[in-house]
């Protein structure tokens, strides 16, 4: 018997709550040996900008205790190539596509949403106002409720598809940012992007990454992500996609109970390419074992 582990994230209905985190699963083509995009709740593609970007100079990665620092810097093929080359493949596969978008200015976000609004295979837009690895835009929008709202409003106005705001944890008060985005028309929020971090190369007396700072992901950040999911759920009741350090079904369940309606898996794909199917199976088994009828019973169950 196949269990119904479908879930709703705002207006989105997903067949299961598991999807890759943007930037960690390319365009769904890279992991075909292990996972086919159409078996996932959704596929969130690499952060996409209007123009192609070359990204930051290598080395771009540094391992830390139970964590990973990256400063990829939004290297991506650009909007045009994405629509021409990447999207058709995902469409053919009938994948449920969420496009993560980024820009330097509010107008960039507006333009890219406008270009995506008529692309049928795109089911939703995830607005990245939280990238710590680019000079302009990115995170700077996400640390302030007003600028966050401005970006979301622009996207909202342009594009009738569901809009999800992806927020940075590098803030004093995540609730106020989430509220601003919801008030500006976001259907849901994705929590969290990476934490700002540094590693020092002591042998050469300099930061290990040429970009100096990187974004911290992986199991290390799980408690921080859970806290933000919990607090935003409690304060707003919003639909949330939880992300940060998930590497097992148990972890995913923590996020669902803390208030997430779906989860994204990032870094764990790198050391266990089967992790997403494993989590999907975990939900099915858990539903059977505990007689759960609907994901609704679990979402936010631990929020007091």
């Amino acid at each position: 018997m196949r269990m119904d582990i479908s879930t709703k994230v705002g207006k989105l209905h997903l067949k299961n709550p598991v999807m890759p985190a943007s930037g960690t699963w390319g365009y769904g083509e890279e992991y075909l040996d292990f996972v086919v995009p159409e078996e996932l709740g959704a596929v969130v593609v690499k952060g996409t900008t209007i123009e192609p970007r070359e990204g930051n100079a290598p080395p771009r990665l540094a391992e830390t205790p139970a964590g990973l620092l990256n400063c990829v810097g939004l290297q991506n093929v650009g909007l045009e190539k994405f629509i021409k080359e990447k999207l058709p493949v995902l469409k053919e596969r009938k994948a449920f596509v969420i496009v993560n978008i980024a820009g330097n200015t509010v107008d960039d976000y507006r333009k890219i949403s406008s270009a995506l609004k008529d692309e049928k295979p795109v089911s939703a837009i995830e607005v990245n106002i939280s990238c710590p690895n680019v000079k302009e835009g990115g995170i700077s929008f996400g640390v302030n409720p007003d600028s966050a709202a401005r970006v979301i409003k622009a996207v909202r106005k342009e594009c009738p598809k569901p809009v999800i705001a992806k927020l940075t944890p590098n803030v004093s008060d995540i609730v106020s940012i989430a509220k601003a985005c919801l008030d500006a028309g976001a259907d849901a929020v994705t929590l969290i992007n990476t934490l700002k971090g540094i590693a020092i190369d002591t042998a050469n007396q300099k930061p290990l990454l040429p970009n100096i700072t990187g974004g911290l992901s992986g199991p290390a950040i799980k408690p921080v992500a859970l806290a933000m999911v919990y607090e935003v759920k409690k304060a707003t009741g919003a639909a949330i996609i939880g992300v940060g350090g998930i590497e097992s079904f148990e972890d995913a369940l923590e996020f669902i109970m803390a208030g997430a309606s779906a989860v994204q898996i990032g870094t764990a794909n790198f050391y266990n390419p089967n992790v997403m199917p494993e989590i999907i199976k975990g939900f099915e088994e858990y539903f059977i074992k505990n007689g759960i009828k609907s994901m609704e019973e679990l979402i936010g169950a631990a929020v007091l």
Binding site: G23, T24, W25, G26, E30, Y31, L32, D33, F34, V35, V36, K46, E54, G55, A57, P58, P59, R60, L61, A62, E63, T64, P65, A66, G67, L68, N70, V72, Q75, V89, E92, R93, G218, P219, T267, N269, F270, Y271, P273, N274
Partner: protein, 267 residues
């Protein structure tokens, strides 16, 4: 192409393999031999495996290692203890299971002969399987190997190359093994107008080989190293700058590489 094919489970292995042998073969350098799988049996020269040290104290990501040899029953890698990951890897024992993924990346193309292999230090290791393949495709005369080490204590696989092929030049920085000098000097002295050069080793060495071969009208293939995240082309963590039709681009060492046209790499 039919996108609705079943999951393509047959090209890359991911799971546990048994350790058949682990042995220190030179200073801090180990050979690791693991049992085969059908996917691993198809490994090409220059490809690598992504291997997770078993005792994972504070280790998150697998470590990339080149494939040195693959035969009927086993796959061989050679690694040097550098940090925690390789340190723990040196502690695995025969009979244990090791988690690994592979073969990954794009290996060396064996397009034509004659060719020269140039390996410095650990860079020697991926050249062995390549030498085997060139030898079988173009015969012993079609291939020459130049392998160099810091000193005798750090050398490995010298005899293996010797019994595989007749044309092997060995050198060391301090002269404790073979000729004194680095591989680039030896290449310069012994270059005979070969059509292809295959090189693996530290960046400055690759750059020097590139400069030399450009002047000689020989093709050059080099194998690069970068810190890796996914090993699968998904994270864009492992890029190197390469000249392409679009100018200069960051390409993925794990996917478009680790072997690149040596004259297109921006050193």
């Amino acid at each position: 192409m039919n996108y609705h094919d079943e999951r393509q489970k047959n090209k890359i292995f991911f799971g546990f393999r048994e350790v058949i042998e682990i042995k220190e073969i030179s200073l801090n350098t180990y050979i690791l031999e693991v049992s085969l799988s059908p996917e691993l049996a198809g490994s090409a020269p220059g490809q690598f495996v992504y291997i997770m040290p078993k005792v994972q104290k504070r280790i998150l990501l697998p470590r990339p290692l080149c494939i040195v040899d693959v035969d009927k029953n086993s796959l061989k890698m050679i690694f040097k203890v550098k940090g925690r990951g390789t340190g723990y890897l040196a502690e695995v024992r025969k009979g244990e299971n090791l988690s690994l993924m592979g073969p990954l990346g794009k290996g060396f193309e064996t397009i034509t002969a004659p060719s020269v292999l140039v390996g410095g230090g650990l860079g020697v290791s991926p050249l062995y399987l390549l030498a085997k393949k060139l030898n079988s495709e173009f015969g012993d005369k079609g291939v020459k190997a130049i392998i160099g080490f810091k000193n005798k204590a750090e050398a490995f696989y010298v005899e293996k190359f010797g019994s595989l092929m007749s044309n092997v030049l060995v050198c060391s920085d301090d002269g404790s093994l073979g000729e004194k000098g680095n591989v680039v000097e030896i290449l310069e002295k012994n270059f005979n107008g070969e059509k292809v050069v295959y090189a693996c080793g530290p960046r400055p060495m690759l750059k020097a080989v590139s400069v030399f071969t450009l002047g000689k009208d020989a093709k050059l293939f080099v194998s690069l190293e970068e810190r890796m995240g996914c090993g699968m082309g998904a994270c864009l963590g492992c890029v190197a700058k390469i000249k392409t039709e679009n100018g200069e681009e960051y390409l993925r060492v794990c996917k478009e590489g680790p072997v690149f046209d040596g004259h297109k790499v921006v050193y």
